[in-house]
């Protein structure tokens, strides 16, 4: 059996390849990006022509995967947790159509918000869609469960949600790989011809079918082996540990032997019988889960009149943020070790725009133009340029969700805040900004949209941008007056010239677009390095 050193994300990717996927569909987002990147660079994927290009956004990714599943093949969709909000419409409806070829949706949550606007818990989406959810606790499980999720999806005829969190996504460990990877499915349309036509008459039937499957989902979660009851002699406490929390629990005990009965949860819906067995034999229950208190809240109920349930809701564990071994030890009343005190001289080192970043020159020009107006007019978006909120630039006033810069600027202008400015990156613009710009054109909004085109999806590490070489045509095609579309090159030496253009368009009382185009310094450096390496190689072979 081959052993591989893989990130949790990469284990999912390898699991999917070995489960015979025909395609992965995704938009980059921390901590999910490495799943798709692994498949893109995998030899196995090239040999089997697994489709793996980036999608424009999570919704298009989800729908494309539904199409592949419809055609009978196995498809995976990957995104960060907030990406599932973007894809929520097709995601929820895919639970009604059901899956034909195996359909697995991976959502990577980011508790403690290392790189995100919130710490929403994707398990609630699984409950919302009423489909099975897998939550691996380590890299091996991530690999094994991905394959299982595809089998489960086809056996039950529904999509399966796979939920991971940052610490598993971005942690490496050894994974044993199967000797028997599966072949891809052949083309096979759904046997029920109306399954995917969600007219009310069909949708009601489909929905009833989904409801009837709920008991089977729960039965499978009890039988699959991924939820495990481990008995213990000390019945004063019972522990329910979900996903990654199980590792933090056993970390605190030598040889991983826990004196209390433990229920390890890695597959949902939670089997009620297993929970009842635990609750019946202990005095009180401690629930450990990464994210929101989903299981804890279910157990407590609204009135909380049963056995004592401890966890994030009663303060045994913090209500927000990710767990760690020390927090878990404290909740068990164990003694914890402290390290040395942090020295008083220590200061923070927040992330910054890189040296030579084109965004810096763009914002320096914009800042100067905006000096004469009152503050609070620059609506921004999700990307590297969000860092311009911090000193020294302090250029932007909002960052809410992908694409919200343009639409919020429209709303603020409608309210009387004229001029309003939207600042958005090229990849974010094609993700969710284009439709907002159409609204602005139809609304004749007095806004200036500043598209920072660094020709890549930079924040997540320089993935292909769907906007590449298409931006100018899209902006024209949406209906912005060509006289008010400008392309500038954000460079220090062109500062005066650029400022004049921005100033003129900010003063114009209609929709204007300024595209600031200069390649990201990171992707540029990488390209140059590759070029130099190829040159060196060519020279060596020539001599």
């Amino acid at each position: 059996m081959e052993k591989l050193l893989l990130l949790g994300d990469e284990a999912i990717a390898q699991g999917a390849l070995d489960a015979g996927i025909s395609g992965v569909y995704a938009y980059p987002g921390t901590p999910s990006t490495e799943i798709t990147e692994y498949i893109q660079s995998s030899k196995q994927s090239k040999e089997n022509t697994v489709r793996s290009l980036w999608s424009a956004n999570e919704k298009t990714a989800m729908e494309t995967a539904i199409g592949m599943s419809y055609a009978g093949k196995r498809a995976m969709v990957c995104m960060k947790h907030v990406g599932l909000n973007v894809a929520a419409d097709p995601f929820i409806n895919a639970s009604i159509t059901g899956a034909n070829g195996g359909l697995v949706v991976v959502s990577a949550d980011d508790p403690s918000m290392h790189s995100s606007q919130n710490e929403q818990d994707s398990r609630f989406y699984g409950k919302f869609a009423q489909i099975p959810v897998m939550e691996p606790s380590n890299q091996q499980e991530a690999y094994d469960m991905t394959r299982y999720a595809f089998e489960l999806s086809e056996k039950m005829g529904v999509p399966v949600l796979m939920r991971v969190t940052t610490r598993l996504a971005h942690s490496r460990s050894i994974v044993s790989r199967t000797d028997k990877p599966l072949q891809q499915n052949s083309l096979r349309l759904p046997s029920s011809p109306k399954q995917y036509i969600l007219l009310p008459v069909n949708a009601r039937k489909q929905y009833n079918g989904l409801l009837q499957k709920q008991d089977i989902f729960e039965q499978d979660a009890a039988d699959s082996g991924y939820n495990v009851f481990i008995d213990g002699d000390d019945k004063s406490l019972g522990i329910i540990a979900c996903g990654l929390a199980y590792n933090y629990l056993i970390e605190n005990f030598p040889d991983f032997k826990i004196p209390y009965p433990v229920l390890k949860i890695s597959q949902y819906p939670i089997p009620a019988d297993m929970v009842k067995k635990l609750v019946d034999e202990v005095e009180e229950v401690l629930v450990m889960e990464e994210g929101y208190p989903l299981v804890e809240e279910l157990l407590r109920g609204l009135l909380n009149e049963g056995k004592k349930i401890r966890g994030r809701m009663d303060g045994s564990l913090p209500r927000a943020g990710e767990l760690n071994p020390k927090l878990v030890a404290k909740s068990l009343g164990m003694e914890v070790h402290n390290g040395f005190d942090l020295p008083g001289v220590l200061v923070g080192r927040p992330p910054l725009l890189c040296d030579g970043c084109p965004h810096t020159d763009s914002f320096l020009a914009l800042n100067e133009v905006m000096k004469k107006y009152s503050r609070g007019r620059v609506f921004s978006d999700i990307g590297c340029y969000t860092l311009s909120a911090l000193p020294p630039l302090e250029s932007i006033d909002t960052c809410v969700d992908m694409g919200a810069s343009i639409t919020m600027a429209i709303g603020a202008a409608d309210a009387g805040l004229v001029p309003s400015i939207a600042v958005i990156g090229d990849s974010t613009f094609t993700h969710s900004g284009m439709t907002g710009l159409l609204d602005a054109v139809n609304n004749h909004s007095p806004i200036t949209v500043f598209i920072l085109d660094n020709s890549t999806t930079a924040m997540t590490g320089g993935q292909h941008s769907s906007a590449l070489n298409r931006l100018d045509d899209i902006v024209k095609g949406v209906g912005v007056d060509p006289e008010h579309i400008h392309v500038i090159k954000p460079l220090r030496r062109l500062h005066e010239e650029n400022m004049k253009i921005i100033k003129k368009e900010v003063e114009y009382e209609g929709v204007s677009v300024v595209i600031a185009r200069r390649e990201c310094v990171q992707t540029l450096a990488r390209r140059m390095k590759l070029k130099a390496l190829e040159k060196k190689k060519a020279k060596q072979t020539a001599s």
Binding site: T33, R172, P343, V345, L346, P391
Partner: protein, 194 residues
């Protein structure tokens, strides 16, 4: 055998190379390993760290418990302070470069930083850039720091050498030689100064 190691620095300083070298050496010796890394937003010139755990037995948590790290390996002095709370007060060693990476306006006086480090019971502070330069290139400063930490890793020195050869062979024999020299120079420094 079990070692919990925090590796710290600023995004782009090569901490993942250090982690990968130790990880590869651990695999050569047939040890278990877990390595938690930072990706995403924090990489943009901000503070970054990796938790590396190697052990002869299975490892549970991807994160090192607070106050239990055996070793902090830092390629930047200010960044080494950020993880004092992770270090085991009875046994932990701190190995850090003395070369500041100053990309913030309120960067403290280097002397104050070093004074905080020198109050610890067990530390090695090394001018890694100078040592690396003496070996041929300042670029190998991160491997000098790794060399300085090598006596505390619980791994055979030859495993680290093999790991470096494996990792840098793709970049040519010059790079392999440079990094092996840098590793050795770092090791020599620690042996002379502890």
């Amino acid at each position: 055998m079990k070692k919990d190691i925090i590796i710290s620095g600023v995004g782009g300083q090569g901490i993942l190379t250090i982690a990968a070298t130790i990880g590869t050496a651990a695999l050569i010796e047939g040890l278990h390993l877990k390595q938690s890394e930072v990706h995403g937003m924090a990489q943009r010139g901000g503070d970054v760290q990796a938790h590396l755990r190697i052990s002869s037995g299975p490892i549970a948590s991807d994160l090192i418990p607070e106050g239990e790290a055996d070793l902090i390996i830092s390629v930047e002095p200010l960044e080494s302070l950020r993880y004092f709370n992770m270090l085991n007060t009875d046994t932990g060693w701190l190995i850090t470069s003395m070369n500041p990476y100053n990309n913030i306006s309120n960067y403290p006086q280097l002397e104050e930083i070093l004074n905080a480090i020198w109050k610890l019971p067990r530390y090695v502070t090394i001018d890694a850039e100078k040592v690396a330069k003496d070996q041929g290139s300042i670029k190998a400063a991160n491997i000098v720091v790794l060399g300085a930490a090598s006596p505390f890793l619980g791994l055979k020195y030859t495993s680290l050498e093999k790991a470096l050869e494996k990792m840098f062979s793709r970049k040519g024999q010059d790079m392999v030689t440079l990094n092996l020299k840098a590793l050795k120079a770092g090791k020599n420094y620690t042996e002379k100064h502890t």
